[in-house]
Subunit: 355 residues, 2 copies
């Protein structure tokens, strides 16, 4: 298929594969130079075909956040063979799905408590193949993760001793600019573990904003960037990329120009989402830095200017969202574009997979 | 089916039908008392079966925001016979779908510009049945809508004169507490129109926060509440309802308790959404007013307290989201609950219908 952008029903989420490939290659080259393995987080695209592009570029496997997300990705590509789920998995239903997944691919998960480890062990004790479990460490993001290297070592010992489990290493989701904190925490944890006779095969860190400084934590063996594949307004604001690197945009139509300095587009919070991600306003209109998207209703986006808005009803705009990862999750399919032409429509295989 | 809540895979969006019915009946009784017709906005639930509950209670029809949303609702219930789409509809694809819809139900739409009216007229000029078009008026929300009663009258005349169209009245989405502004704007517009010999059969207003003061704008003939069907944290904060009236909740599991005053649940921005809706934090944990949900990642929600959080890994919580309408749109299905039992799972028929 070939459809001109002018004929696409709006709002529509557009993905430029050329830019996507360039974004993938850029970080892979950096990682290769620094001897870092890449395990991209697919939460951003949720598309098996883009995971394959990442594997082609040199990724060692993928990262998923939920069991159902991993299932959808594996179902969509027989080339995905190695999956890390960076989540504490609890509950009989999820554990049963996890055991089924482990028969299909090389699977690892994380844990930050004895309760999670014991649940994983109970689920895998009778399985033929043990499950690899990494300890999640809090290096400053204050989300999940054990608070100290000592606590990490204690949980690692528990994993190593648990039936059905293998200790796989240490994982963290660091704060932006947290490479030195990662280096410090992980170095100390590794010392504790090696003193206890436990090898630490993998130390995995992540986060797109700081990815080009990943080498400041040389103790890490792998890195899990997610948003880098598309980029977004928050990353432009942080200086991590330029507008020209933003591979995901939202095509919208101006449906009303009710005042000289106000226009309304047909993309609201059910498309762009309300994620601010540290920004003011809800996205960037490409080519119109004078416009602020100052308010979203569910299906309306409000564009305002200080001078004349100079838009007419029926005009189309392309919006770089604040946060690409949540936008991809709003739609059943994305439009693949080359320049001003839509070349394909791809179902978002893992959209809405939250369990 | 009957499943205990304790066995439901999380996160899950729960809908209590008993509370839903009570919420529907409460506003219908108010509207009946004041001689106001009710045309609920289905954006909140996107479920044909709940639209039927609203019709059973006395609603005269439904409101949709998008053509695709209306299509999904009509496909899901042959009892939906009257639909108002409160949106400026532009573009050949949408207009073709609109013409097809008009053959199935009594259909009306809104317009706030000559461009939209002319497009509708071109699409319906050759149809057997004319399309009813209302003029959207800005009574202070500063979204869409003509700015003055004079401008409303001008557009009404254009509709009345356009082949294929019938002028249906005036529509507004008022600001919260805007009943007096509605009364003032609409009264003046009606005078202009009637002086021009044009009847104004419908004046439709909406918005849940001010719905129990709708009678302060007696000129309105119908009202379009949406969120009232479920209620949410923003409405509790505005004093429009109590926690006990919140029919939609998110069931989540505590997956980590990494510090004495911090716990992490498995519902993040891809479930609760980042909509703040004037609130601080991202939801209310039922029964735990001491907890703030201060940060969301895509699949993590962070719960913090000033004292001890007193939660354990594996515990479950129910969260009232800031904004119910966007949460229903995040999931393919909602769990219907009675007390602590899930009695059914309903696919969200119009989820993701943004075009």
């Amino acid at each position: 298929m070939k459809t001109a952008l002018a004929d696409v029903n709006t709002p529509a989420v557009l993905v430029d594969l050329g830019l996507t490939r360039r974004n993938i290659d850029r970080f892979q080259a950096y990682a290769d130079k620094h001897g870092l393995k890449v395990r991209p987080h697919i939460k951003t695209h949720k598309l098996p075909a883009i995971a394959e592009m990442q594997l082609d570029a040199g990724a060692i496997g993928i990262t998923c956040q939920k069991v159902s997300e991993a299932e959808a990705m594996i179902a969509g590509s027989d080339r995905i063979k190695d999956v890390l789920i960076t989540y504490n998995i609890l509950g009989n239903e999820k554990l049963a799905h996890l055991a089924a997944l482990a028969k299909k691919v090389t699977l690892s998960v994380v844990a930050d408590s004895a309760k999670v480890i014991d649940g994983l062990s109970a689920a895998f004790a009778e399985e033929d193949k043990p499950l690899t479990v990494l300890v999640e460490c809090n290096t400053g993001a204050d989300r999940c993760g054990v608070a100290t290297p000592e606590a990490a070592a204690e949980l690692a010992k528990r994993i190593a001793a648990a039936p059905g489990l293998i200790f796989g290493g240490l994982m963290t989701f660091p704060p932006t600019g947290g490479a030195r904190a990662v280096q410090s925490f992980m170095s100390r944890a590794k010392v504790f573990l090696e003193a206890a006779g436990i090898d630490v095969p993998v130390i995995t860190s992540g986060g797109t904003p700081s990815m080009m400084k990943a080498a400041l934590a040389p103790i890490a063996t792998e890195y899990r960037p997610g948003t880098y594949v598309y980029n977004d307004r928050s990353l432009v604001a942080r200086g991590a990329c330029a507008w020209e690197d933003c591979a995901l945009t939202v095509l919208a139509t101006v449906v009303s120009v009710p005042a000289a300095n106000r226009a309304i587009i047909d993309a609201g919070s059910k498309t762009l989402t309300s994620d601010l991600f540290g920004q003011t306003g809800f996205g960037h209109v490409l080519g119109r830095p004078d416009i602020a998207i100052d308010q979203l209703s569910e299906e309306h986006g409000r564009l305002v200017t200080t001078g004349p808005i100079a838009l007419s009803v029926g005009d189309r705009v392309r919006v770089v969202p604040n946060h690409a990862c949540v936008v991809t999750n709003m739609v059943d399919a994305v439009h693949i574009v080359e320049g001003d032409t839509v070349t394909d429509i791809w179902p978002v295989a893992a959209r809405g997979k939250i369990t």
